[in-house]
Structure formats: structure tokens, C-alpha cells
């Protein structure tokens, strides 16, 4: 792991709003040390995806700073592997699985040509998530779970030091879930993995930090989080908890939650 003494992610007193008077995130602080992995959880509209876009440098903080590997998010992009949710992409786009994985090998070059080394890395990334046999298939012909895996492979092909996954389990078929967690746990040994999820089932023993985002941000040690809440979480339907877990971690006792959710949705809609 490179980066020296600088933490992987360091957020100081960050606030963000799309329009004045309607803050999405206020006074957020977060430090993620090298070798730790985290899961960002929180209700829909609480600011999870906004935080992700800030980390990627796609949005600029209204105030406060973000440092990734000690650099600005834009400067650190080449070391970040990002996986969006597959349904954000055009399902009918004419592209093969291998071509998608190769996109992770694009560099800041003028030409954007791929070398033999790039192809090997893309194929290796596909094998890592178990979809190498689909390399020549059309992306459009895959199931949701397969597409999500291909997008993880694309992020891995970047050979990142930090992997950002947006809702990776949202579309995985129940049968493949165990295997998928296994894959992620392997990855965590090599790189820092930060996941966004509204699925509490995702918070397992391999995760170090649970980061609750609901306008404010609270960090829990995962072990501690487990002890306090795991029973409640795992003995109920996760679906039930998803949307009204605003408070399983006491980090979201603010009035007007729905209103804020609505505002954020409005702000991010394209």
C-alpha cells in the first residue's frame, strides 16, 4: 500500500449544498486509514451518493476539504477504482464485456490505445470476479448481477489503491451473494474498499468502519456496531430496516428528513 503517512481519505469540516439554505451534508469529518475498509450506510436522500460524488471530485465542497492519498480528489482519480450502479448505464449499448473491462485501462494519454498488458489486466480483472467466460458476450445480454460484476472488474482493471463501490449488492442474485462477499473480502486484503450500501446485510465482520450518513456523518467501529445492533438487524427483514433505519445509529435525529430527501433528489436529478 502506498501513500506513506497520509490517510487514504481525510475529510475535514466538509459542507455541501446544491442551493443555499438546503444543506445536503454539514460539518462532516472522516478519516480512513490505510488498510481499513468502510461501508457508508444511511437512508435514501441522506447524502450517501453526494458524498461519493464529492470523493470522486465530480462535485466541489461548499466548504471544508477532502484529501485522498493526501491529494485533491481530482488529482487522486487515477488511483481510485469506481463502480457505479449498472442501471445508470444504457442497457442496450453495443459493447462487449471485455471492451467494458478495458475501459478501466484508459489513461490520460492522447490516443487511448490499449496494449497487450492492458488486455491481460482486463482479463485478469474479469477472472477475479468470475465472469471471464463472458468476455466476448454482449454487455446487453447479461443479467443484472453479471453486469454489476463486470463493472467491478472494470474498476479493478484500473489497479486502484482505493475501490469505491456504489450499492454492489443491490442486484446480486441471492445465490451468488456468498461468493460475492468472498470476492470482496479477498479484495480488502489488497486495497482499501469503501462501499455505499443501504443494505445492512452488507455490514459484516470484514468491515472495519460503519459510516452513517444522514446530513451529518457518524463513524462506528464495525465490531462495536455489531454488538449493539446486529441481532436487531439480522433477525428482521433487511428490507424493512433499509428505509426506516434512520436511527439505528443515532446519527440522524433531525427534523424534516423527508423534505431534505426530496431536495437532494431534486438537486441530483439530471
Amino acid at each position: 500500500m502506498t501513500g506513506g503517512a497520509a490517510p487514504i481519505i481525510e475529510i475535514r469540516d466538509l459542507s455541501f449544498s446544491y442551493e443555499p439554505g438546503a444543506p445536503i451534508l454539514t460539518h462532516v469529518n472522516l478519516t480512513l486509514e490505510a488498510g481499513k475498509s468502510g461501508c457508508i450506510v444511511g437512508p435514501n436522500g441522506g447524502g450517501k451518493s453526494t458524498l461519493l460524488r464529492l470523493l470522486l471530485g465530480l462535485l466541489t465542497p461548499s466548504s471544508g476539504t477532502i484529501r485522498i492519498f493526501g491529494e485533491t480528489p481530482v488529482a487522486a482519480r487515477s488511483r481510485i477504482g469506481y463502480m457505479p450502479q449498472y442501471h445508470q448505464l444504457d442497457a442496450a449499448f453495443p459493447v462487449t464485456v471485455l471492451e467494458v473491462a478495458l475501459m478501466g485501462r484508459l489513461r490520460r494519454g492522447f490516443w487511448g490505445r490499449y496494449t497487450r498488458r492492458d488486455r491481460e489486466a482486463a482479463v485478469a480483472a474479469l477472472s477475479e470476479v468470475g465472469v471471464q467466460s463472458l468476455a466476448n458476450s454482449s454487455f446487453a445480454a447479461l443479467s443484472g448481477g453479471q453486469r454489476q460484476r463486470v463493472l467491478i472488474a472494470r474498476a479493478l482493471a484500473c489497479e486502484p489503491d482505493l475501490l469505491l463501490l456504489d450499492e454492489p449488492t443491490a442486484n446480486i442474485d441471492p445465490g451468488a451473494e456468498e461468493q460475492f462477499y468472498g470476492t470482496l473480502n479477498c479484495l480488502r486484503k489488497r486495497m482499501t474498499v469503501l462501499t455505499v450500501s443501504h443494505d445492512l446485510g452488507f455490514v459484516n465482520k470484514e468491515i472495519d468502519l460503519v459510516i452513517c450518513v444522514n446530513r451529518n456523518l457518524t463513524v462506528h467501529q464495525a465490531a462495536h456496531f455489531d454488538a449493539a445492533t446486529a441481532d436487531a438487524v439480522y433477525h428482521h427483514e433487511v428490507n424493512l430496516i433499509r428505509h426506516d433505519h434512520s436511527c439505528f445509529c443515532n446519527c440522524a435525529q433531525h427534523e424534516g428528513e423527508e423534505e431534505r430527501a426530496r431536495r437532494e433528489e431534486k438537486g441530483t436529478r439530471r
Binding site: I80, F93, P94, V95, T96, E99, L106, W111, A140, R154
Partner: protein
């Protein structure tokens, strides 16, 4: 006349030059249309194309007005169409990148305003104006100069596409990811819109403003039913465009009907049939 006599006349008779030019146009325009049409379909910017084509009419109206009323003799209809289309491309590009809400409403406003401004200018322009040829095309009135312009456009479209294919593919599939990997999305996207604008001006000659978006998108959409690479979609859509325009022209000549609608009826039927087929067979792996 029999088919044999017809083709002999087509090849050799001087009075058939108009049809020969039209057929050359069908072949040459296929290169630009195949590439740009595929990009327009996969990036889903057909409505932007519609707005661009109608603002091109605004440009034509303004240019003819300036030429005949203000005596700017250099101000030709083609120049007006190119200027109008490029201006519209810039405008809709800014709207689609920055307007968070009401993008469709703004695009539609640009669309209607462009067309209306053009018609108002034409109202106040003296002399006869073949406005129908702008609305419905004038492929049978092409000159050799038009063919040269198309050839230049083909080169301008094809060379960057070949050079930057990987970047173009990544940007069209997932603009955000491409930007994160350092692809200059904010440069490529406006360039793509500008090329779309020029291709639209070229196609206005072939089928006119009303049908231009149909001709730009139908061959590409049809090709999309049978291909699984962006490049093969471009190639097939170029070939299909060539077939549709050529067959439509010959059919219109034979049946004595307008060429633009004949071409679009062919292209549209092929698309509907392909859609039905691919829905039946499912997308193959």
C-alpha cells in the same frame, strides 16, 4: 423503359447527371451518417439533432434575407445553414451539460424558435425561394461541389473516430467513468455535437429538415439490433444508409414519388421489422 435501358441511360446519358450525382451522394454521405448516426442513437441525443436541424432553417432564412435585402452577396443558404446548425449545437450542448431541469423544454423551445425565425425571415425576403427543398430535400438538384463537401466531411468525421475510438466508446458508454479516467469528455462532447450539426446540414440536402433526424437515426437504430460493438454498428449503419438512400432514390424515380419520404419509409420499415425480429429472437450473446 426496361431495367437494362434504365441503367444504360443512368450511366451514360448527360441528362441523367442529376441522378448520378444523387447516387454518389447516397454512397458518400453514408460514411458520415454511419458514424454520427450511431453516436446520436447510443448517446440518445436525437432530440438535440432535431433542434439543430430546425435552427439550420433559421440560418437559411437569415442568410437569404441578408443576401437579398442587405446585399451581402457572399451570404449563401448553405453558409446560413452551417452557421445556424453550429450555433444550435453550441446552445443545446450548453443546455444538456448544465441545465439540470427542463432540458427537454429548453431543447423544444430552441427547436421551434429556430424554425419560426427562419420562416419569418423568408416571409420578408423578396424573390422566389425554394423553401420546400429545405423542408423536403433536394437530392436531385445536387452539384459536384456538394459532393466534394461531403467527401471533406467524411474525412473530418472518420479520422478522429479512428484515432480516438477507445475514448469515444468509453465516453458514450459511461461519461462519468470516462471523465474519471482522464478522457476529455468536456472537449469530445461539444466536438461530437459540432460534427452532428455538419452531418445534419449535409442530410438536409438529401431528405430535408423534416425527415433529417429519421434518416440520421433509423439506419443506426436498425444496425443496433444486429451488432454488439460500437464500430460494427457504425459500419452496418453506414451500409444500411447507403442501401436505403439508393433504393429510395431509384424507387422514387421509378414510381414518380418524392425521394425523401420514399427513403424514410424504407429505413423506417427496416427498423420496425428488425425490432420485431430481435424481440422475437432475443439479443444473441
Amino acid at each position: 423503359m426496361t431495367a437494362g435501358e434504365f441503367f444504360q441511360a443512368l450511366l451514360f446519358q448527360p441528362e441523367m447527371a442529376f441522378l448520378r450525382n444523387a447516387l454518389w451522394m447516397a454512397a458518400l454521405s453514408s460514411v458520415a451518417v454511419g458514424v454520427v448516426g450511431t453516436m446520436v442513437v447510443t448517446r440518445r441525443i436525437a432530440s438535440l439533432g432535431g433542434a439543430i436541424s430546425h435552427v439550420a432553417l433559421g440560418g437559411v432564412g437569415a442568410a437569404l434575407f441578408l443576401q437579398r435585402v442587405c446585399a451581402f452577396y457572399w451570404c449563401s443558404a448553405t453558409l446560413g445553414a452551417v452557421a445556424g446548425a453550429l450555433f444550435a449545437a453550441l446552445l443545446v450542448g450548453i443546455v444538456s451539460m448544465y441545465a439540470k431541469e427542463r432540458e427537454d423544454t429548453i431543447i423544444n423551445a430552441v427547436w421551434a424558435l429556430g424554425m419560426s425565425v427562419g420562416l419569418l425571415f423568408l416571409d420578408r425576403t423578396p424573390g422566389t425561394i425554394e423553401w420546400q427543398s429545405y423542408l423536403f430535400g433536394s437530392i436531385l438538384l445536387l452539384t459536384e461541389a456538394d459532393l466534394w463537401m461531403v467527401t471533406v466531411l467524411d474525412v473530418v468525421v472518420l479520422v478522429p473516430t479512428l484515432l480516438f475510438y477507445n475514448n469515444l466508446l468509453a465516453m458514450s458508454f459511461d461519461g462519468t467513468f470516462a471523465e474519471l479516467r482522464g478522457v476529455k469528455v468536456r472537449l469530445i462532447y461539444p466536438a461530437l455535437l459540432a460534427l452532428t450539426a455538419l452531418t445534419i446540414v449535409l442530410l438536409i440536402n438529401v431528405v430535408g429538415i423534416i425527415l433529417v433526424i429519421a434518416l440520421l437515426t433509423l439506419p443506426a437504430a436498425t444496425a443496433g439490433c444486429y451488432t454488439r460493438h460500437l464500430w460494427s454498428m457504425m459500419l452496418l449503419s453506414g451500409i444500411l444508409n447507403w442501401i436505403f438512400v439508393t433504393a429510395g432514390l431509384l424507387a422514387s424515380f421509378w414510381l414518380r414519388v418524392s425521394s425523401g419520404p420514399a427513403i424514410v419509409v424504407l429505413a423506417g420499415s427496416a427498423y420496425i421489422i428488425s425490432l420485431a425480429l430481435s424481440a422475437r429472437l432475443g439479443k444473441r450473446n
